[in-house]
Amino acid sequence: MQARCVGDAAIIYASDYLNKLSGERIERECKRQLESGRRALIINFRDTELVNSIGVSILVGVIDAAEQNTARLIFSDVNDHTAELFQMLGLTRHVSVVSSEDEALSLVSEARP
């Protein structure tokens, strides 16, 4: 699981296929970052071609965890197909979906008091 921190934000890189195995790794990493005090999570989907139903369920769990910790959750670099899926299932009501990691970091900076 590749992850890095920029300021208050943790950037987590999703793998090419977001299923049970890779999804649970993302969930664990997100929860670890929230527990360590990060208030912004960026999940970068640049390598992700496909998200299956378990992947969706796990992302819903990450949304819940972020909301409980009043943390911001941003999805970046999402391909068109996956973006449509997130839109259709209503995940975009709870997360910001942006086209690049830089844009995500800007959103985080703007929100900072």
Binding site: I54, V60, E84, G90, R93, H94
Partner: protein, 419 residues
Amino acid sequence: METNTKRLLHTFAALADLGQEIANTSDFAEMLRSSFHLLLGSMAIRRGAVAHYDRRADTLRIISTRGLDQAPESSFAIPRDDARELARLGTSLTLAQARERATRFMEAHAQLFASTEIELLVPLVVHERLIGIVLLGEKASGEKFTEEDFETIKALARHIAVGINSHHLLAEVKRKAEENQRLYDGLRKIYKETVHAFAAAIDIKDRYTQGHSVRVGKYSEVIAREMGWSDDEVEGITVAGYLHDIGKLIVDLSVINSPERFSAKDSKEMSRHPSAGYEILAPISHPYADIPLMARYHHERMDGNGYPDGLKGDEIPAGARIVTLADSFDAMTTDRPYRKKLPLEDVLADFRANTGTQFDPQVVCAFCRAFLKEIEGTKERRLLNLLNRNYHDVERLGPMLNQMLSDFDGGAIAASVNN
């Protein structure tokens, strides 16, 4: 592509993944967790729980939850009538519908449904029997569940129900198989104890040959194992050894215990025992093959001059040929009223002289091989322990056993033993 089509494709993919997950029979908890995840992820449902219905205890036991702030109790009661009603309905119910259909259950657990923000109750049903329930919270989209959603949930829930049911059926089959195995082992134990009791009864009748039947059983076991027989076959021939003289129970006591060699009349009386043994053993359903035949034919000879039927060579069952040698070995290595036990050299000389006429060469070779391995310390001392009280210094028999192996088996067996 239209949203409805995309939604349908996402649901199809979830169904396909669900099929794969349910095929995972090695880890039930993981199968269930993944299947439940798939159901939630198919329409991004934010929270829920799945519970198994225990009809004997009238309870629902939670086996997986997701996204619930407050975990429900691990199990909660459900009245049988309500369980029946849910099974009959077999489709997703809003909480309002559930309150009408399963009134007592919903009233009893009103607090649970209020605190967990559950919106739907989905009965898991197989063959019109309640297997469990799935509780579902709201969708991430915030939209109400539609009729299409209900159908999708119903299809996915049916798969999960079949998965749970199959797991429990398999567990039940396994439990019954283990129970049957325990019963079978118990019966086998009783059978063996009965056989031992019979062997003791046979040997008590003949005061000169006490312990003979048990020893013949043990010698037969060693020979059969050396011949490569399976564990089950070895157990069978051991039993045959124990019972081979059971026909002596019908022979006149004065004949059996005669201190002199048998007269012609006594010999005739004594020669009835193999056939009598067969008559006694044949009606019994033995767990091993050919026990009655081994008793009947243990006085047959390879040259056809034995009794009761004068069978020759391969006509004599292999087990009977083994018991014949074991019987002769014990007869020659124990004291009899009319003679003392023979020295082992004389016993082996008797075997050598009668191999092919009285004894099967393959059985003689197996006996020699087992004996030699015990003397050389490459095999557990079974024959030697049975003989120990009567004989010492058996190590000197090695060359004689090697020579017999060489003569009867072309030397190949002797070489392998020596190596």
